[in-house]
């Protein structure tokens, strides 16, 4: 009991101190970086957003769309989580066998750091090269209007992605998240963390591409999409248990009828 009290007192003291003095070194409550998903799911990104890739070529976000896309927000001066995220994403995408990057969907990494340019991007690519499989259809880019004040915040804000510079860590604090976009550029799904499960990625791609799947004969994808539902609290897909239970009870009913019919036929044969 004493220990708890002591800890509480410490906490209170720390809090009082934190309010009084500028934050120099402290851990951040991850809740403030949390993406408010209900507000952003379904939101359309600005298709005209001008981007520049590593070779200095300019393109608009809309040019990339038409297929579902995986969007990763990073910054290229990062020596912590960003390269890891890019490498891990490449690894997991390589393990998704049903959908291939370039063919079925595109991947886009965009920097949210206004100081990034084609040079820092090339340096970043050089640093990560060789750590992960090379995937076609993956573009790394920076915002063309990067110099303009608030442009990166505005772009990232469209998907509810928040970040800030920590002087203590000399790094940006930001959520590690990949965003799935529909072919028309709407936010379809968020998946968090480094350790992505290829199955979750596949299901998120099905969700992102639901429009096409619903309009074509992709029965397998349709069934897969219906059998799983997304768990927002844990950020992963899980079996849609009620649906499976319902289908199970329906099959039970059918089986009962069929069994009755069979029993009847057998008995009729037995009795002539």
């Amino acid at each position: 009991m004493k220990r708890v009290l002591a800890a509480l007192a410490l906490l209170v003291a720390a809090r009082a101190w934190a309010v009084g003095a500028p934050v120099v070194d402290s851990t951040v409550d991850p809740a403030i970086l949390r993406i408010d998903e209900p507000r952003h799911l379904g939101r359309m990104l600005d298709r005209a957003t001008p981007l520049v890739d590593a070779d200095g070529r300019e393109f608009a976000l809309g040019d990339l769309l038409g297929k579902p896309a995986v969007l990763l927000l990073s910054y290229y001066g990062c020596d912590g989580t960003c390269p890891t995220m890019n490498i891990e994403l490449a690894k997991v995408l390589d393990r998704v066998e049903r959908f291939r990057p370039g063919r079925d969907y595109d991947v886009l990494t965009v920097s949210f750091d206004a100081r990034d340019s084609a040079q820092t991007l090339r340096a970043f690519l050089a640093r990560t090269a060789g750590h992960a499989p090379e995937l076609p259809g993956w573009r790394h880019a920076v915002l063309k209007s990067g110099g303009e004040a608030g442009a990166t915040e505005k772009f990232a804000g469209q998907v509810g992605f928040r970040f800030f510079w920590s002087d203590g860590a000399k790094a940006f604090l930001h959520p590690n998240v990949i965003v799935f976009l529909t072919p028309e550029g709407r936010v379809a799904r968020y998946l968090y963390g480094f350790r992505l499960d290829p199955k979750n990625v596949e299901l998120a791609l099905i969700d992102a591409d639901w429009g096409r799947i619903a309009n074509s004969a992709a029965v397998f994808d349709m069934m897969t999409g219906a059998c799983f539902s997304f768990n927002y609290a844990e950020g992963r897909y899980q079996w849609n248990t009620p649906l499976l239970a319902g289908v199970g009870s329906f099959l039970f009913g059918i089986a009962a009828m069929a069994w009755g019919g069979l029993a009847y036929r057998r008995r009729r044969e037995a009795h002539g």
Binding site: A214, N231, A233, N240, P242, L243, G246, I254
Partner: protein
């Protein structure tokens, strides 16, 4: 005739009558709920109660009790029990004790449903019980779950019983092509019950798990999906519409054939086209209840086509019915009045369903009074008229006595006028935008007058049905003896005495090659003329 005999009875006729008493009682309770709601809506603002929850409880009870406590048990409980063994020349059902169990389960079910009014926080979730509200509400939805489960179980064991009975216990010579239309319809209804009730049971059980055991089956934040419930619910509850429709149309067929003294028009079309068609399509149209629920567009369009196609088998059944009138010899006793009433009410109800089959029109019409008016015409009113007509029709057989023709017709005309006042106006108000399940309608003050007329019409309906029920009670106690076959029907149930003794016939009947339940127009006047090799039945009085 003592009480103990009735409680421990396994006789299908008594079980049937117990079903009838229970379901008419449920009808009365649910009818009172309807009256309370109509009174509440007769003025803007609070009228009877200042508490919207009270109104929502009435609405829940009205829907759940009318469907689960009145229509389904009256049709698949009372009519099936009373008529099927008599129509197929059987002594009783295949499993008489199971039958007794099912009727007492039914009573437990309606008592649970009626307990709604005596517990502190009654369920206020509507008979659909959609989550997340059914999980968030303080109302005790467990009562709803248990009502559904018990009535569902009663229905399933009833279904097994009757399928077995019809398959194994038909009288010698009574082939499949000589089954009454009612028997075919009820068989089809039981097949639907057996296949689809487990799905509903699963859905409502999971709702209770979520509410009371803290699971997350329908909690979107934890991987649940609220739409899954709606799909499961309607995957059963749309076929349930046919579980009601098929038997009530069967009853109407029996009445029309008897009073027109005419062969059922194109029997094979009615059975193989109409009934089988409905069974085949019943499982693939449920999404028309979810046209505005946010389902994928392709499934809404797909089920628009299947929903419209349902009009094909249903249309065949209407053609069969109207065709049975052709070149008949129609007389207009009370049961026939009700049956003819069903034809017209069903025409209105069925055709007003066509706009609702189109998702584009439903985007405006869904969840308005138009829907309420439509399904009351097509299912609630048409079904109840068929039930009342059927009770009048078999009344002489059940009691051995005759009801009062005058009061019978008076009751019919009162209800017929009343339902058209209420539900025609209801559809009109709905098209103009009045949403359903509203305790108050402050945003639609222009509808107050229409609501008042509807309340007035509801009063007429109430008097009409009360007249009918009193007519039965008086008739059963003091009516004139009716004779064994007062309508001159060819059907097998009229060949035994009224009321039939335990075992129905002293020795089981067998039917001849040329006999048919609708074999009118062969020059014979009635079935008395020994088409059947029925041994003489000693009269019990």
């Amino acid at each position: 005739m003592n009480l103990k005999e009735w409680i421990f009875t396994t006789d299908h006729k008594r079980v049937g009558v117990l079903y009838l008493i229970g379901s008419i009682a449920a009808f009365g309770v649910a009818g009172v709920m309807a009256m309370l709601m109509r009174l509440e809506l007769s003025q803007l603002g609070p009228t009877l109660t200042a508490n919207p929850t009270q109104y929502n409880i009435w609405l829940y009870a009205h829907g759940a009790v009318m469907i689960l406590g009145f229509q389904i048990p009256a049709l698949t409980g009372f009519f099936a029990n009373y008529c099927i063994p008599l129509m197929i020349g059987a002594k009783d059902v295949a499993f008489p004790r199971v039958n007794a169990l099912s009727v007492w389960l039914f009573y437990v079910g309606i008592i649970l449903a009626i307990l709604t009014f005596f517990i502190p926080d009654p369920p206020d979730v509507m008979w659909t019980g959609y989550p997340p509200y059914s999980i968030l509400t303080t109302g005790n939805t467990a009562l709803y779950t248990f009502t559904v489960l018990i009535l569902g179980f009663a229905s399933i064991i009833g279904g097994v019983n009757f399928l077995t009975t019809v398959v194994y216990m038909r009288a010698p010579g009574l082939t499949w092509n000589k089954l009454n239309i009612f028997v075919w319809c009820t068989l089809a209804a039981f097949v639907l019950q057996l296949i689809f009730v487990p799905v509903l049971g699963t859905a409502v059980t999971l709702i209770s798990f979520d509410k009371y055991l803290g699971t997350h089956f329908f909690d979107p934040a934890r991987g649940g999906d609220v739409l899954t419930y709606q799909n499961l619910f309607w995957f059963y509850s749309h076929p349930a519409v046919y579980v009601i429709f098929l038997p009530f149309f069967g009853v109407v067929y029996e009445i029309v054939a008897t009073f027109a003294r005419n062969r059922v028009f194109n029997y094979a079309m009615v059975v193989y086209g109409g009934i089988f068609g409905i069974v085949a399509l019943s499982g693939v149209v449920w999404v028309h209840h979810l046209y505005v629920s946010g389902m994928a567009d392709w499934i809404r369009i797909g089920q628009m086509v299947t929903t419209l196609l349902i009009s094909v088998p249903v249309g065949l059944m209407v053609i069969g019915l109207v065709g049975t009138l052709y070149k008949g010899a129609i007389s207009f006793e009370t049961p026939m009045m009700y049956a003819l009433g069903v034809i017209f009410l069903f025409l209105i109800g069925g055709l007003t369903g066509i706009p609702l089959a189109l998702p584009s029109l439903t985007l405006h019409l869904s969840d308005t009074y138009y829907v309420v008016g439509h399904f009351h015409y097509v299912m609630a009113v048409a079904g109840t008229f068929a039930i009342f007509g059927g009770v009048y029709y078999w009344f002489p057989k059940i009691t051995g006595r005759m009801y009062s023709e005058f009061w019978g017709k008076a009751g019919f005309w009162l209800t017929f006028v009343g339902v058209n006042i209420v539900f025609w106006i209801m559809m009109d108000v709905g098209v103009k935008g009045m949403p359903r399940r509203y305790y108050d309608y402050a945003q639609f003050p222009q509808f107050e007058h229409a609501h008042q007329i509807m309340t007035f019409g509801a009063g007429i309906i109430g008097i009409g049905f009360a007249v009918a029920v009193i007519n039965w009670i008086v008739g059963a106690m003091r009516g004139k003896p009716a004779g064994d076959n007062p309508w001159g029907s060819m059907s097998l149930e009229w060949t035994t005495v009224s009321p039939p003794p335990h075992g129905n016939w002293p020795t089981p009947p067998s039917v001849s090659e040329e006999w048919h339940p609708y074999g009118y127009g062969d020059g014979r006047v009635s079935s008395d003329e020994a088409i059947l090799h029925t041994p003489d039945v000693p009269r019990v009085s």
